[in-house]
C-alpha cells in the first residue's frame, strides 16, 4: 500500500515536471513570431526586392533590431 502511494507520488511529480516543461515551451512559442512575420513581409515587399542586396541588409537589420527591442 505504502509502496503504491510512493509510486503514485513519483508519477505525479514526473507529470508535473513534464507539464512545466511543456508549458514553458508553449509560452515561448506564443510570444515569438512577431519579428519573424515582420522580416517575411520585409522580404516579400517589392520595393525591398528591387533594392537587391541593400533591401536584404535593411530587412536583416530590422529583424535584429526587432529581436532586441520587442522580443523580450
Amino acid at each position: 500500500m505504502r509502496k503504491r502511494r510512493q509510486n503514485n507520488r513519483t508519477i505525479a511529480a514526473a507529470l508535473l515536471v513534464c507539464l512545466v516543461l511543456v508549458m514553458g515551451i508553449e509560452a515561448g512559442y506564443l510570444q515569438s513570431g512577431v519579428c519573424e512575420d515582420a522580416i517575411k513581409e520585409c522580404f516579400d515587399d517589392w520595393y525591398n526586392q528591387a533594392w537587391g542586396y541593400f533591401g536584404t541588409v535593411y530587412c536583416l537589420l530590422g529583424y535584429a533590431f526587432c529581436k532586441k527591442y520587442i522580443d523580450a
Binding site: N7, Y58, K68
Partner: protein, 318 residues
C-alpha cells in the same frame, strides 16, 4: 516503474538545475541601482520611442527617438533643450534611427535605412555623413577621430572595424574564422582603456574579450545554451532567440552584459563580469530594455514603458 520514476526525476533535476548553477554561486560584488532621473512618461511627449542613448561629460543626455524621427538633447534634470531631425533620408534626417554614440565634441548616429554614420555636433547641427558600406550592429567611439564598428555578417563572417572620421578602415578584428550563416555572429561591442574588445554575441551564448592584435583573451557562456534555435524565413536560415542584447563598461572596466530571452528575467538581467571574465554579480533592472549604456560618470541608462521612458540609475557598489 519505481526505478524508472526515480531516474526520470534525477534526469529532470539535472536538466533544470545545471543551467542555473552558475547563478547559485556567491556574488563577489554587491551592486544595486538607484533611480535618479526619469525622462518621458505615458502622459507627455518628451519621448515617443527611444532607440539610442548617449551622455556627455557635462551631464547632457542625447536620445534618438524612432517615432519622432529625431535626435533630442536633454539637460541633467531631464528637460528637453533641443531637438533636431525630421522624417527623410537627407542630411540630418531619419527614417529608422537606431544607434547613438558620443565623443567629446560630436554625436554619431545610425539609421537602418541609410548606410553610413551621421555626425552631429553637441548643438545637434548635422556636420557630415561618414561613408560606410556595411550593415552596422553596434558602434563604440574610441576618440574624436576613431570608432569601432560592429559589422553584421550577411555574406561573410562578422567583424569589428576600427575606422577614422572619414570612414577609412584603420584595422579590423576578425573574431570569426568562418561564416556560419547570416546574423549568427552579430555582436554588441565595448572597448576598455587598454584597447581590449569585449563582444557579446546576440544569438549565441558567448561573451568574449580580444586584444588589439586579434588574440582572444577569454570566452564565456553564462546561459548554458548549446544549440542556436534557427528558423527558415524566405531563403535564409535565421537565429530566433536573443542571448545577449548589449554590453557596456563601468569606470573600473567591469563588463555589464544585458541578457535576452534565456535569462531568469529576460531583457532585465544584467550580468556583471570582471575584466578577466569572472562573473561578479547579476543586476535585475525594474523594466525590460533593449540596451544599456553606462556614461563616464558611471550612471546607467535603460528603457522603461517599452521605450517611452528613459531611466537614469546610479550604480551603488557595496
Amino acid at each position: 516503474m519505481m526505478k524508472n520514476g526515480k531516474m526520470f526525476m534525477r534526469a529532470a533535476a539535472v536538466v533544470l538545475i545545471v543551467p542555473l548553477s552558475i547563478f547559485a554561486a556567491e556574488e563577489r560584488l554587491k551592486i544595486s541601482i538607484q533611480e535618479i532621473l526619469s525622462i518621458g512618461a505615458l502622459d507627455d511627449e518628451a519621448i515617443f520611442q527611444w532607440t539610442g542613448v548617449a551622455a556627455d561629460g557635462d551631464g547632457f543626455i542625447y536620445v534618438l527617438d524612432g517615432l519622432d524621427y529625431s535626435l533630442k538633447k536633454f539637460d541633467a534634470r531631464g528637460k528637453l533643450v533641443k531637438k533636431a531631425g525630421r522624417k527623410g533620408q537627407g542630411p540630418g534626417e531619419f527614417l529608422a534611427p537606431r544607434l547613438l554614440a558620443c565623443s567629446q565634441d560630436f554625436l554619431y548616429a545610425t539609421d537602418q535605412t541609410v548606410l553610413g554614420i551621421s555626425v552631429f555636433d553637441k548643438e545637434l547641427q548635422f556636420k557630415k555623413r561618414i561613408p560606410f558600406s556595411e550593415p552596422v550592429t553596434d558602434l563604440f567611439v574610441l576618440s574624436e577621430t576613431t570608432m569601432a564598428i560592429a559589422v553584421m555578417g550577411i555574406q561573410g563572417p562578422g567583424k569589428i572595424v576600427v575606422a577614422d572620421g572619414s570612414g577609412r578602415v584603420l584595422t579590423e578584428l576578425a573574431y570569426q574564422e568562418k561564416y556560419t550563416g547570416p546574423m549568427m555572429d552579430s555582436v554588441s561591442v565595448a572597448l576598455d582603456g587598454q584597447g581590449h574588445f569585449y563582444l557579446a554575441y546576440v544569438f549565441q551564448d558567448r561573451i568574449e574579450s580580444w586584444d588589439r592584435s586579434g588574440k582572444r583573451l577569454w570566452s564565456k557562456n553564462l546561459l548554458g545554451i548549446k544549440k542556436v534555435e534557427m528558423k527558415k524565413i524566405a531563403d535564409y536560415l535565421l537565429p530566433t532567440e536573443v542571448c545577449y542584447k548589449d554590453v557596456s563598461l563601468d569606470d573600473r572596466g567591469r563588463l555589464f552584459v544585458l541578457a535576452g530571452k534565456h535569462a531568469k528575467n529576460p531583457s532585465r538581467d544584467v550580468y556583471v563580469l570582471s575584466p578577466s571574465g569572472e562573473w561578479l554579480s547579476t543586476l535585475t533592472l525594474p523594466d525590460t530594455t533593449h540596451c544599456i549604456y553606462i556614461d563616464r560618470q558611471n550612471f546607467l541608462y535603460a528603457r522603461a514603458n517599452q521605450g517611452i521612458t528613459l531611466k537614469k540609475y546610479r550604480l551603488n557598489y557595496e
